[in-house]
């Protein structure tokens, strides 16, 4: 975009009395439309549905605002193709499950009006989903949408603002990771020694509590399975006592399920709670598959002198032999420092 033209447009628009943003910032809108040709190909049979999702990436060197949508499928009746549009902010244009194309929009005065306008930064993606029904499955259905709007060039004092043109000040152009010690935004903060500190007067010690080894205490956590029937015991409660004198903070748990032979197996479901009545999970979940090794977003505090109880029972068992489980809770003990 030639700067001189923007300056002229800026001067003319200002004389027309347009709104001026705080700090004397003005925006010069330059028309830009994005055409999105699509085809919902025939298929899906007479009984089923077919669906396709296509994307249009908004390109440019400055933010763009969506102001209208035109469609070449103008109709006043239901045509059996449903459309849903998702914007880069994750929100949908239509409530519920979208709208029939015949009810959407056409061209000219029958365009879709986007009011208020929606600002999209370069690289933003508009996703369009088309769903056909059994009747419309028989033919290819071309659909062309024109997303109309304008680039916004922000100016101040007759000059382009730094946010425009080089993109460096747009949020969408920031790096995904911000250069913090914790480069993985999904990792718990304690991984990089960030977050809540040990309070004054206390000392933390890395620690693992484990339930009894099934070899030594088989009656507590071993099931005998024969011919897809559990013979004993069912269900079972495993206890991990927490020693008095220090609270235990659980970071993650490991569930070690093993069988005496390759021909026997089971998935173990369980509910985890403390003796004080707190339940970590209300319903029974498959322990090894869903929770084993998963780092908790926050520490789970179990008071000293209390116990972790795991109510467990096997499911989907098969074969002949025994299946056992041992539970490990990893975290740290917190002591009060004597002084």
């Amino acid at each position: 975009m030639k700067l001189e033209y923007l300056k002229q447009a800026d001067a003319i628009l200002t004389k027309c009395g347009r709104p001026i943003l705080p700090g004397g910032v003005t925006a010069v809108p330059i028309y830009k439309g994005f055409l999105m040709p699509m085809v919902l190909a025939a298929g899906g049979g007479t009984a089923g549905q077919r669906a396709v999702m296509l994307s249009k990436i908004i390109q440019g060197d400055t933010p763009w605002v969506l102001r209208a949508i035109s469609s070449d499928v103008g109709s006043n009746s239901l045509i059996g193709v449903r459309i849903q549009i998702q914007f880069p902010n994750g929100r949908y244009l239509f409530g519920g499950n979208g709208i029939d194309l015949g009810q959407f929009c056409w061209v000219g005065s029958s365009r879709w009006l986007q009011d208020p306008e929606l600002r999209i930064e370069p690289g933003g993606r508009i996703n369009v989903t088309l769903v056909g029904n059994a009747t419309t499955n028989q033919l290819d259905r071309p659909v062309n949408l024109l997303f109309e709007g304008a680039y916004l060039y922000f100016m101040k004092g007759g000059q382009l603002l730094p946010a425009t043109g080089d993109l460096k000040n747009l949020v969408s152009q920031w790096p995904r990771y911000q250069g913090t010690p914790n480069q993985n935004i999904l990792a718990p903060c304690w991984r990089s020694n960030e977050g809540i500190r040990t309070p004054p007067g206390f000392s933390d010690e890395y620690w693992i509590y484990s339930s009894p080894d099934p070899q030594d205490a088989g009656a507590q956590a071993t099931w005998t399975i024969s011919g897809a029937v559990i013979q004993s015991p069912y269900p079972q409660t495993i206890e991990i006592p927490i020693e008095p004198g220090s609270d235990f903070f659980v970071r993650r748990m490991l569930f070690d399920v093993s069988g005496t032979s390759l021909s026997v197996g089971a998935t173990v479901y369980g509910r985890i709670r403390t003796g004080a009545g707190y339940a970590l999970d209300q319903s029974y979940i498959e322990l090894a598959g869903t929770l084993s090794g998963v780092e908790f977003a926050a520490h789970w505090k179990v008071h000293g002198g209390d116990s972790i109880y795991i109510d467990v029972f096997p499911q989907n068992y098969a074969g002949t032999g025994t299946v056992s489980i041992q539970v490990h809770a990893e975290g740290f003990r917190r002591y009060q420092v004597k002084g």
Binding site: N76, G95, Q103, N133
Partner: protein, 154 residues
């Protein structure tokens, strides 16, 4: 097409308005199925809104010959002449809101439109003013307006 008849005020920042249309037809509304006999009325048909944001209704467009009556989630009638004869209280869509006719009913109630909480139900009543049955699967009711996303307001 939907055009606001005057400029609506934007929600105060950091609330965000976003254009939205709810479209109800036989694919997502069980009440819009079957045949409505001549001079017959339906019971109330709930039109359920999304959970994610409150909705301001600003216009209605319809398709089909069936007459309708709409109430907001607070059961305020939006198109009801309150006449003694029930059948005269239904809107004739071909004259007002049918996309084959004048197009759209623009609502001018309140600063932002007719308010509805997220997950609320508008209530739809249908009446067949003709002398023959109407296939309800050809009928559509579109509610035009905006969603107000309030997450960052609280």
């Amino acid at each position: 097409m939907y055009r606001p008849q005057f400029a609506y005020p934007l929600s105060p920042e950091p609330c965000e308005d976003q254009r939205c249309t709810y479209s109800f037809d036989s694919t997502n509304t069980p009440g819009l199925s079957g045949t409505l006999a001549a001079a017959a009325q339906t019971g109330r048909i709930p039109l359920s809104l999304d959970l994610d944001a409150d909705f301001y209704l600003r216009g209605i467009s319809t398709q089909g010959p069936v007459s309708f009556r709409l109430t907001d989630p607070e059961t305020n009638p939006l198109s009801d002449g309150e006449n003694a004869a029930q059948s005269t209280n239904f809107e004739l869509p071909t004259e007002y809101s049918n996309t084959n006719g004048a197009g759209i009913v623009a609502l001018e109630s309140g600063a932002g439109g007719v308010f509805a909480h997220g997950s609320a139900n508008f209530l739809l009543y249908l009446y067949n003013p003709t002398a023959s049955g109407i296939d309800l699967t050809t009928c559509v009711v579109n509610l035009h307006g905006i969603k107000v996303y309030r997450q960052r307001c609280e």
